[in-house]
């Protein structure tokens, strides 16, 4: 079994019924980016507050880097880097002076140099004071302060809020470098798009409950794919009877057939060949659609 950076069992902090985080069984492997996904208000930030020892769980157990966050918070905080959602920057500090202070608080003088390097990479002006920073620049400063001490585990809550696509890409590269060094990233977001380029595993939380936890590749396998076939004449939907994995078939009088399916495409293509298909148009997997479908499926299950 792969070592885990975060393990929790029945982890619960409920503000009100269905609000907060309920019964979370998290498994975040070491050396990977874990995408922690869910809509706003689903409970991601509550879970992160527990993992970072800001709040104490009402129920359940949790281990972060082998430590109990609440009991071992001082040691844990030395080994993790955190960016909370919409974290403001202290008004009276500019980026450079904040880095100097944090280096003192961490007893890590190297934080200053590393922070300046990261700031340069993220195009962040460290001379501006907290209250002069835009949302995007506050996010950048938060990222710099979360990463500058090279923590074993990085916990980022909606880190790409307010950032342009180029910077989002750059942050993705930074996160991949972190895991390449054997460190771990928990990346929380309300959008699969934000994590699909970097995550190895994903967990979906909704209405305080962890709905699903799986490798990103497995999510792709589960994705609903679409293929459009064109025939010389109208083909009845029954022509594709007996093929496993077909979700929907739409037939048009001009001979166009649109099939949505899960799993391997081979059986669909074989049947299409037998029926004399003229053209085949395959569409790339849209994980976002799968993500939404997973939510819809969960809601229907409820």
């Amino acid at each position: 079994m792969a070592p885990t950076a975060i393990t929790s069992t029945d982890l619960t902090y409920e503000y009100a019924p269905g609000v907060g985080a309920v019964g979370l069984d998290l498994e975040v492997p070491v050396g990977e980016v874990y995408g922690f996904l869910g809509p706003n208000g689903a409970g991601k930030s509550t879970a992160i507050r527990i993992l970072t020892a800001l709040i104490r769980p009402q129920r359940g157990t949790v281990s972060v880097l082998g430590l109990d966050p609440w009991k071992d918070s001082t040691e844990l905080h030395g080994r993790i880097g955190v960016l909370m959602s919409d974290q403001p920057a202290p008004r009276h500090h500019n980026g450079a002076s904040l880095l100097t202070l944090l280096a003192k608080l961490r007893s890590r003088p190297d934080v200053v140099a590393r922070g300046h390097e990261l700031a340069e990479r993220l195009s962040l002006d460290l001379s501006k004071k907290g209250h002069e920073l835009s949302l995007g620049n506050r996010q950048k400063l938060g990222l710099v302060t979360a990463l500058a001490h090279e923590p074993e585990l990085v916990i980022l809550d909606e880190p790409t809020n307010g950032l342009d696509p180029l910077l989002q890409r750059e942050i993705g590269l930074v996160l991949r470098e972190i895991v390449d060094e054997g460190r771990t990233v928990l990346l929380s977001s309300h959008s699969l798009h934000d994590v699909e380029a970097v995550a190895d595993n994903v967990g979906f939380i909704r209405d305080a409950i962890l709905v699903e936890q799986l490798p990103l590749a497995a999510l792709a396998d589960r994705a609903v794919r679409k293929v459009i076939l064109r025939f010389d004449a109208e083909i009845g939907a029954s022509a594709f009877d007996g093929i496993e994995g077909i979700e929907t078939i739409r037939v048009l009088p001009d001979g166009e057939v649109t099939i949505q399916y899960r799993g391997p495409v081979a059986d669909v293509l074989t049947r299409a060949g037998e029926l004399g298909a003229q053209t085949i148009e395959a569409h790339p997997v849209e994980l976002e659609e799968t993500f939404l479908a997973l939510y819809r499926g969960y809601e229907e299950g409820q």
Binding site: L54, I55, H77, A89, P90, L102, K104, L105
Partner: protein, 260 residues
């Protein structure tokens, strides 16, 4: 802990400078004027109602020493120092409200040390404020024609420091309990007002004289070391209550969930 406390103090340097300027202005400016109207003050003092004398700490304003007590130690001094300390104590809740506490709450220091930084800030603000009052009286006293030694000024000023510390600790306790800066400031100022009113009633109404035993305003003694002896019991009460309230605040903050 010290680094963060120093940083917090730096962030409040304008407030601290303002309080110091106010205390120096009151101390030096008012006291320097005293020789120009000390004769009139004698007659004025005789006509003052008892309630007002209680208000100014029963100081004999016809003497330079009494005038120092009335101008520096009976109202403005403790009020300014305690006000600054309350602002510092409420700062803990302010950083929780605006979420900047999130930056420091995930540093490798215990909650106790994190709280300790704010407590040190309250202490520092009280020390600086009381220090300004001390310097003001040391400079202004001779200008008023008073012959008060530095030791006596120090003894008179020390209770002001502890009064500030107590009121700042109350604000810290409310900050730690609620995370609400407005409530922390409000309760701090309410504590000042209540203790002031209790002291005034204790001075005026015999049957309520027991109130002075429970009023921190009475404990600080309005600079009585200038004209008589320091109220040792009052100073001990100020220190002891500050320690107890600070400890309660620390234990509360240590256990409270921070929804940052």
């Amino acid at each position: 802990m010290g680094a963060l406390a120093f940083d917090l103090a730096k962030s409040r340097r304008i407030l601290i400078a303002g309080i110091c300027a106010g205390l120096l202005f009151v101390s030096i400016g008012y006291l320097a004027l005293y020789p120009s109207f000390d004769d009139q003050l004698q007659a004025f003092s005789d006509d003052l109602p008892d309630a007002y004398k209680a208000f100014i700490g029963d100081a004999d304003i016809a003497s330079a020493e009494g005038y120092i007590r009335s101008q520096v130690y009976s109202l403005l001094g403790p009020l300014l120092v305690a006000g600054a300390a309350i602002s510092a104590g409420a700062g803990l809740a302010r950083t929780e409200r605006d979420h900047t506490l999130a930056v420091f709450a995930v540093m490798p220091m215990s909650r106790r040390k994190l709280f300790g930084s704010w407590w040190l800030l309250v202490l520092l603000v009280s020390v600086i404020g009381a220090g300004a009052a001390f310097i003001g009286v040391v400079i202004g006293g001779p200008l008023a024609g008073a012959s008060v030694g530095i030791g006596r000024v120090a003894l008179a000023t020390l209770p002001v420091l502890f009064f500030g510390l107590l009121m700042g600790s109350i604000a810290l306790l409310v900050s730690a309990l609620t995370g609400a800066p407005g409530m922390a400031s409000g309760v701090g100022w309410l504590a000042i007002l209540a203790s002031f009113i209790a002291n005034s009633f204790a001075e005026l109404i015999d049957s309520l004289s027991w109130l002075s035993a429970v009023s921190p305003w009475a404990w600080h003694g309005a600079g009585e070391a200038i004209t008589s002896e320091v109220n040792v019991g009052g100073v001990i009460a100020l220190i002891a209550s500050s320690v107890v309230i600070s400890a309660l605040a620390m234990l509360t903050f240590e256990r409270r969930n921070l929804h940052l």
